[in-house]
Amino acid sequence: MDYNLSKFVNRVFVCVLLIIIYLPVSELQAQDRNVFRVIVISGDDGNPIVGANVLLFNGETDDNFDDLFDAGATDSDGRYEFERIEPGNYTLRISYVGHETLIENLQIADGDRIVRRITLRFASSEFDEVVVTERRQISTGDVGVISISAEEINRIPSLVAGGDLSSYLQTVPGVVTAGDRGGDLYIRGGNPSQNLVLVDNMQIFKPFHISNLYSAFPGNMVQTVDLYAGGFAAEYSGATSAIIDVTLRNGNMRHHQSSVTVSPYLTSAQYEGPLKKDRQSIMVQGRYSIMDRYAERIIGEKQEFNFYDVTAKYAFQSESVSCNVTAIRTYDSGQIDPSRNLDLSWSNTVSGVRCLGFDERFNYPVDVSVGYMSYSNSERIDGNPELFSSMNDIFLRFDHKDDVFNFPMDYGFFIGFRSFETILSERFSDFLSLKANRALVKSYAQMEYSIADRFRIQPGIALQFTLETSPTFEPRLRMAYSWGKDDGQEVSLATGIYYQSYEGISDTRDAGTVFTVIKANEYQEQQPRAVHGIAGYEINIGMFELNLEGYVKDHQNIPVSRWTPLARFELETALADGFTYGFDTRVELDAGRFYGQAAYGYSNVEYEAVSESLGAWVEEDIFSYNPGHDQRHKLNIIGSYDFPGFTTNVSWEFSSGRPFTKVYGFDLSLRVPEEDPMTTAGTARTLFSKPFNERLPVQHRLDVSVERTFRFHENVALLAKIGANNIYDRNNIFFYNLNTLQRVDQTPMMPYISLTANLN
């Protein structure tokens, strides 16, 4: 057996063996540990409730809730577990908006291992709950993390009913897009290929559509989204910038529901319902864009692109296990630069199974996922395929938790087999084909300590390796200290080292294309690496919540295209180091009918590379520059008001200009004296000035929507939504086409009306 393969197999064997040996041993050791686990189910649709308030008080009481033992909120699977519970009498209280509160006395005996599925009855009058009591106990040190609910997604004006995650993410400070086309998100200085997007534990490479107003995650499909803009814990690895962890909701386990949406830009249809009441459900949604057919009549501009996405989810739940099967297919094609005949396309195919076992025999739930991911993108000029790149992945993931020295430890492993393929057959360069296969193993372990319910620390370690690379060493640390009963003040820190086993290469000089070559790392010393540091402060003042967060990210080995004067895709790359620092601040007011949020972000991104390797014609040996996603200032203001009978949403964004490179010439070069000026035209080339030495103008945009539900029957309702993006029709620049000297602006004012028919 080849030496590298032998070493790799040995490492995998040791990892798996350790886990297999440890698992039964730990189970035997902890058989006498009391377990009290609740799974909170909604009486409305039979699905687990995320974020339900779960409180356990000492003693049996109906009205005296002062002696709190523990409190928290249910997770994305509707679970909450009380740790280190001693035998005795308790009172359990569970509440959630729109549901009746449950209060129940219970007794825990020595050795009890209890898993309770609790259904909260749906009560439409119970909409007044807006604040969680005992907030300090619930806060978990969430620096660098933004948890996004479907309700929050729906607050952002969007062209679809229920909102879209893509529209929401663009209101988050530190998230930068190149415009309203292309589907690329830059998060706190990191580029799109440095982000990892997960949906139900499966990677999806590029779920954002060619129109940045849409993604594969409409609000009505989302259960929770966690955006880790940096400093993420050891359970996440394989990305050097950010994590977007999406959990789709399950289909309704009690009622059949369907909806159809029509609008000038998008049509969709959805069905969900039980296969077996309270046990199995299925949910299917398909969306198809029709922008290319009707947008020109409304906004006066052709939108030469289209896309579709199809999502299906089967869910099964019982007292001891819940499983779901998720499949997503997205496809995008078209032109983001209407002045060129450059066709782009990309597609995602993702499918997988995830099972969570929380039987009382387990100290902690066991989480297993297996799945498949495929991503490909291409670029064509004048209909001729020229550039293609893809990545495919089959994986198995295992997550568990157990007690080590009486402290809970999360651990797990990931085994994946990836293939990469790139074909470049551009007119100006030789034909090039690259293929690579990689076996990847990742594992992690993290523990959580809590001192006096005020100070929490979460150290962890992650590692990953392939046949070609030695194991990485990725320590992580998250800490939080909270104080103040009424104002819930909290300070939190997060830091860590991050590695990535593949890289994405785009020609960032050309904003008219988003084609990306995806290739596996070949050399250990050139593996992309980053160090993050984040500090945050949060306080609640009355109805206001104030959040302030500062961060730094130090990236190494970022592949950037070499700078050449010739107009061609440059696969040859230089390695740059990047340093990002900045801060975000957010003020939020949630006052019943009114919701308001103002968020400001400052960010400074700088890259540095050896001038010679970069190919930049500058005097200095080391060239520093601000790349195209260095957006210094971003201000977002969101407002939402529930009037009687209808809801209005407003979103305004202001952002400073991003860097771009001026051109100092369009040349037809001649090889004299071999080429005769009287018979040879010469070779066309664009001469770039000093890279990214200028800034685009500032941008701002106001989006507004109004929606109202008309109920015609107990089972039939019509949701009408009317609104406009860029309502004052500002010409926000997208980029400048240097070949035709034409300015390409983002979408002008985009009015819309959307009708969604809901059938129960």
Binding site: V131, Y664, D667
Partner: protein
Amino acid sequence: MKSENNFKTGSNIRISLSLCAVTLLCVFWNTGCDNTLDPLDTERGIFSIYGGLDLNSEINYLRVRNLNQPILENEIQEFTGTVSITNKRTSETVILNDTLINIQNVFVRNFITTMPIEPETAYEVIARTPEGKQVKATATSPAFAEVSVLPVAPDCTTRVNIDFDPVNTGGLEPEVGFEWNGEILWQTLIPERGESGESNDLRRVSFTPRQLISVRLREARWCSELPDNKFYLRYIHYGPEFNQSIDSDNLNIPGGAGTLGAYYREFQSFEIDRSVICDLSICQ
């Protein structure tokens, strides 16, 4: 459960909303009325100049292009500047006329110069805009090298030295050829410096006729198989500015792009002795 539902919907909220609206309106008016963009760096890029000044030619052509104009098919773009050439030794300056031609659907502009190009002389080409911005390119012509072929009439196995003196730093591209099947086949030779004690500007190529024929034809051949006793020499002698390659990012015309240089080509023949017929005792 007792709800903590303390929202204030009264005048406080309304005042806050009004203030926000006024603030936003002020921001709208003051931020970003100027939405213009100039993508061209007109300070750094002005003209490109390409040309080879041939010492042996009465007419030379210089391609001059305004770098700020995009390359468009079948579109004639106005050229408002002037192009001149100056003999730096005599200070003679001539303003050049241009000719516009369409090559592969692109209109290009070449400037015509009939100024004699003399050896070891610097020439300066200046392209100027009406506003006074200018781009200069300088080319230094090489000296006419004296060529000697020794020995005279060598036989097929005798080492031949062709000396060129002086050769400037621009370089030399010599080729030696022979007639075969009705055409002249050329072989490029690499010039080397002379031996110790010889001139620093001397460059030499060395070969044996038999070896050159065999290498070029890729099989062992003998001089007696040639149709006649002539060998041919052609070469280009470049001035120093031709050291830059066209793909280099190190653009050698300040404020612009391009390559300007001077050169000459020569062609001559010399004789070899084909009298020795190849037999095994001699041509092994």
